[in-house]
């Protein structure tokens, strides 16, 4: 590739350096260049929220950012939340409450909620609905997601 740019970024605690086409979307960078395919792409116009990742701790849409924009920053993706054997408490609650069906939107909903719950450990149902109102889910009608968030909040509440 003639025109490339170097991106240095820490993803899920691991530092990476890659040369990419400057127009590479962050979502494509994560999925293709770093092979972290847990971040899903549903609309590529910033509406569905499936591609949400944490940029320096804040939930952002990776389809609306170019990879070079995160140079020098820190990203957390769904792969950085928990592992198969050691699920994040929110992931555990999602399983418990059947908060996912096809699971395609789930990574973006988890990454939206993790920082939200850190700042709002005991949200009301209305607040939870507001918090995930930028994430589309076509399978669940959101109800079990709300149940899961309540469950996670209860469990982490001392």
């Amino acid at each position: 590739m003639e025109n490339t740019i170097t991106v240095s970024v820490t993803v899920n605690g691991t530092p990476y350096q890659r040369s990419v086409d400057p127009r590479t979307l962050l979502s494509d960078f994560l999925r293709n260049d770093l092979e972290l395919t847990g971040t899903h792409v549903g609309c590529e116009h910033g509406v569905c929220g499936a591609c949400t990742v944490l940029l320096d701790g804040e939930a952002v849409r990776s389809c609306l950012l170019f990879a070079p924009q995160v140079d020098g920053h820190e990203i957390i993706t769904v792969e950085g939340l928990g592992t198969l054997d050691n699920l994040h408490p929110l992931q555990e609650a999602f399983r418990e409450a059947h908060a996912l069906q096809c699971g395609f939107c789930t990574p973006g909903i988890l990454t939206t909620l993790v920082p939200y719950l850190e700042e709002n450990p005991n949200p009301t149902e209305e607040e939870i609905r507001e918090a995930i109102s930028g994430n589309l889910c076509r399978c669940t009608g959101y109800q079990h997601i709300i149940d899961a968030v309540k469950l996670a909040a209860e469990k982490t509440d001392p």
Partner: protein
């Protein structure tokens, strides 16, 4: 029957992979040397292709090839007919016109593919697609369902002298006779419009031809990998064993990922074989709006004849169904409308005249509900209107007309979407209906709460609608279950999974039969290398058809286990129990053998297997029902309308669902929640706006609004249980149920809320804007 595992709210085995981003979707498939496809699609809905110039596209570095219809030569052919028209009816007109891989001559809907670019990256492929120059001669578009049948109309298919795709009449009893006896005959015209399935995952394909191995592997976000494999083999001149189609985790299906043979499904494997390289394409959202199938556009003229007590004496309807530019999926959807326009009622006289038309819009195939929501909408709207005119309680009118519990199996004397006689196998409607009224607090709302809220100036209304859903139709599904030497169970079935929890629900059925943990069962779904007989995941049939096949195979393995264990433990089979992965002698827990040991003994490396027996503890079984299992349900809502903004607030939503035996109630509830969410979209948010040029005006998720968390109410679910009599598990389908009655409930509640306006709602989907228009019209007229 008392179950230990079936009926339990078991946590899903597929979840950890999905929750941690480790589950494989088609978009995650990455192969060495993989190339990427991008399509040049027509912006015009109807246009002649005069010339195609690909020269500039070919010059872009990284472009490997550009293909048009001409390049396919003799390999160019339309997709296969999938569901041919009903052979059992007389005088059926059916003009089959199927979608094509690449446009030849004339574009018939916007989004059809003119050319495909193959390049080293998706970015390059899309750049190159922009450099393709196509000269079109635009033609007037066929849009209107009625005008398209007028003489002299522009034609979608020039080789037909009409835009008529199909016509058939189904008749039961004597409607005209019944009409003469009636105290009241009402007639209305209904407009039902299009929506999108809008699965969060768009479609996607990775096709990989291995020249040395002479083998094609296709990862496809499809609901029906087996028919796709069989069709691809036939098209590409391969034996079926040379083609493997894998539907890995699929991010929502809802109908359009059915065995459509989409253009991309035909073209990309063909190019992979030409190039000997793996090729990947993931649909983008805009393509999804134009190229992925849609549903629901119909115009109905309906008549209902009633006695003054409210008995339905007969229903007559003439309706037009828009199939879009092609009709690969036959008559499934409008036949479902015909089957559901009598609801769960005892209707003795029924006349239904169906016309299907071609238009220059995106192809229509089933979307969750598949013609049923339209049928339920019609009959329930008509009953609401009839009750008003007869001054009867609308709920009583429904109660009066329900098919009584002793009338099952109830033969409707018409054919259903599976071309079998429409028979409702079982049901007990009134108790479920009463339960719904109780849950919603119907009496109290009407008598106390509504008057109180109205006095406060609030526009609140209530709606309750019962519905039926024909589910679990054939032809058949199959399953293989085997005990591994480790004692774990491996199983496979042909139906793919798009979120329905098959890997858990089917594992529960196996765990029940074999006395193992659900987590000990590894279930493969949707991989033709693992199981290659079956049709797919659609028509609310997984738990019924595949579920019972799994049950039959696991039951057969159980018999094999018992037979072998009986010999080894020297104990009669009836004294053996299967639990904790062991076969034990009842009351003598120390006398036991593990399933793993038995599996090893059943597959010896030396010695002889007895003649007439099969090695291993494995069985493959099939289930094919003569007719389906009919589910029933009731939905109710209390709704508030803001008369300034026309925004709505659903204050309460309840459902009673009777899907027979539930394998996993948690999963059933999830299916209902999701269905209701789609139904609410169908009722008030989701309409595909086509203009007079058959251009879709809202082809993005920013413009086509699917319900978000703030639009959805809390849904209270109650289960009734009338087990299906014709399958061993007693299951009925529930995948589509949630979506079916919602527009009808919504219309009833909205009319009730806007009582002062005396509004009659005869269309769906509505929207705040459309509701405002309807109210304005009312005011202008009065």
């Amino acid at each position: 029957m008392t179950y230990k595992v079936i009926g339990k709210r078991v946590k899903r085995v597929e979840d950890p992979r999905l929750l941690t981003g480790q589950a494989l979707f088609v978009g995650d498939v990455s192969l060495p040397g993989m190339l990427y496809a991008a399509f040049f699609r027509s912006d015009y809905a109807h246009a002649k292709v005069i010339s195609i110039d690909i020269s500039q596209a070919l010059e872009i570095p990284g472009v490997v090839g550009v293909y048009t219809a001409e390049d396919m030569g003799d390999d160019w052919e339309p997709g296969p007919p999938l569901v041919s028209p009903p052979p059992t009816l007389e005088n059926v007109v059916f003009n089959s016109r199927r979608q094509v891989p690449l446009v030849k001559g004339k574009v018939k809907h916007a989004g059809e593919i003119i050319a495909v670019v193959i390049a080293e990256s998706r970015y390059i492929a899309e750049d190159a697609a922009e450099e393709i120059l196509v000269e079109f001669e635009p033609l007037p578009a066929v849009v209107d369902l009625e005008k398209c049948l007028e003489p002299g109309s522009v034609l979608v298919h020039d080789d037909l002298d009409t835009n008529l795709a199909a016509h058939l009449i189904q008749n039961k009893g004597d409607y005209e006779g019944a009409r003469k006896e009636a105290d009241l005959v009402i007639s209305r015209r209904f407009h039902l419009d299009r929506g999108a399935a809008a699965a969060l995952e768009n479609r996607g394909i990775v096709a990989d031809w291995d020249e040395k191995n002479q083998h094609l592997t296709v990862w496809d976000a499809t609901q029906s990998p087996i028919p796709i494999r069989n069709g691809l083999a036939a098209r590409l001149g391969l034996r079926t064993h040379q083609v493997r189609v894998v539907a890995p985790f699929v991010g929502g299906g809802f109908g359009p990922k059915i065995m459509m043979f989409y253009a991309e499904e035909m073209v990309l494997p063909w190019i992979s074989m030409k190039l000997g390289k793996p090729i990947k394409w993931i649909e983008d959202r805009r393509e999804n709006f134009y190229a992925t199938t849609q549903e629901r556009e119909q115009i109905h003229d309906v008549e209902m004849a009633l006695s003054k007590e409210g008995h339905i004496l007969g229903i007559k309807q003439k309706f037009i169904h828009d199939t879009g530019a092609f009709n690969p999926y036959g008559l499934t959807t409008p036949l479902n409308t015909q089957s559901h326009s009598m609801g769960g009622y005892d209707v003795q006289n029924y006349y239904s005249d169906l016309t299907v038309v071609f238009t220059n819009k995106t192809i229509v195939t089933p979307v969750r509900g598949a013609g049923r929501p339209q049928g339920i909408y019609i009959v329930e709207r008509m009953l609401d209107i009839a009750a008003r005119e007869l001054e009867l309680d609308p709920m009583e009118v429904r109660r009066l007309n329900f098919i009584p519990p002793d009338a099952f199996p109830y033969d409707h004397e018409i054919i259903d979407q599976a071309f079998a006689t429409l028979i409702f196998d079982s049901g007990n409607y009134e108790p479920a209906f009463d339960k719904a009224l109780e849950m919603l607090g119907y009496e109290d709302f009407i008598k106390n709460e509504q008057p109180r809220l109205r006095a406060e100036g609030k526009y609140v209304g209530i709606g309750i609608v019962p519905f039926v859903e024909t589910t679990g139709v054939g032809p058949y599904e199959g399953a293989r279950v085997s005990v591994e030497p480790s004692g774990k169970i491996s199983a496979a079935t042909g139906v793919g999974t798009q979120g329905q929890s098959h890997m858990t629900a089917f594992a529960q059925v196996i765990a029940e039969q074999l006395g193992v943990e659900v987590s000990d069962v590894s279930m493969v779904t949707g991989d033709t290398a693992e199981f290659h007989w079956g049709t797919g995941t659609f028509a609310s049939r997984g738990a019924v058809v595949a579920g019972n096949a799994v049950n039959a195979a696991a039951g057969d393995v159980r018999l094999k286990v018992l037979k072998l264990a009986s010999k080894i433990l020297e104990t009669p089979e009836e004294e053996l129990v299967l639990e904790d992965g062991m076969v034990r002698v009842a009351d003598k827990p120390d006398q036991s053998i593990s399933l793993g040991e038995l599996a090893l003994l059943a597959n010896p490396l030396r010695g002889a297997v007895e003649p007439g027996t099969e090695p291993g503890l494995e069985s493959t079984k099939y289930f094919g029902p003569a007719f389906g299992a009919t589910a029933f349900g009731v939905h109710g809502m209390i709704l508030e309308v803001d008369p300034e903004t026309m925004m709505i607030n659903i204050r309460k939503y309840i459902t009673v669902e009777d899907c027979g035996t539930m394998i996993n109630p948690l999963v059933v509830e999830g299916q209902i929640h999701g269905g209701v969410s789609m139904g609410i979209g169908n009722a008030y948010y989701e309409k595909l706006h086509y203009d007079e040029n058959a251009q879709l005006l809202n082809a993005s998720l920013a413009d086509y609004l699917i319900p978000g968390s703030t639009e959805m109410p809390h849904i209270e679910v109650h289960h009734a249980n009338t087990p299906a009599p014709n399958n061993e598990l007693g299951t009925k389908g529930v995948g589509e149920a949630g979506a079916i009655p919602v527009p009808a409930v919504f219309a009833q509640a909205l009319e009730n809320a806007l009582h002062d306006y005396d509004l009659e709602i005869l269309e769906t989907p509505l929207s705040p804007n459309r509701l405002y228009e309807l109210l304005q019209k009312k005011e202008d007229n009065s």
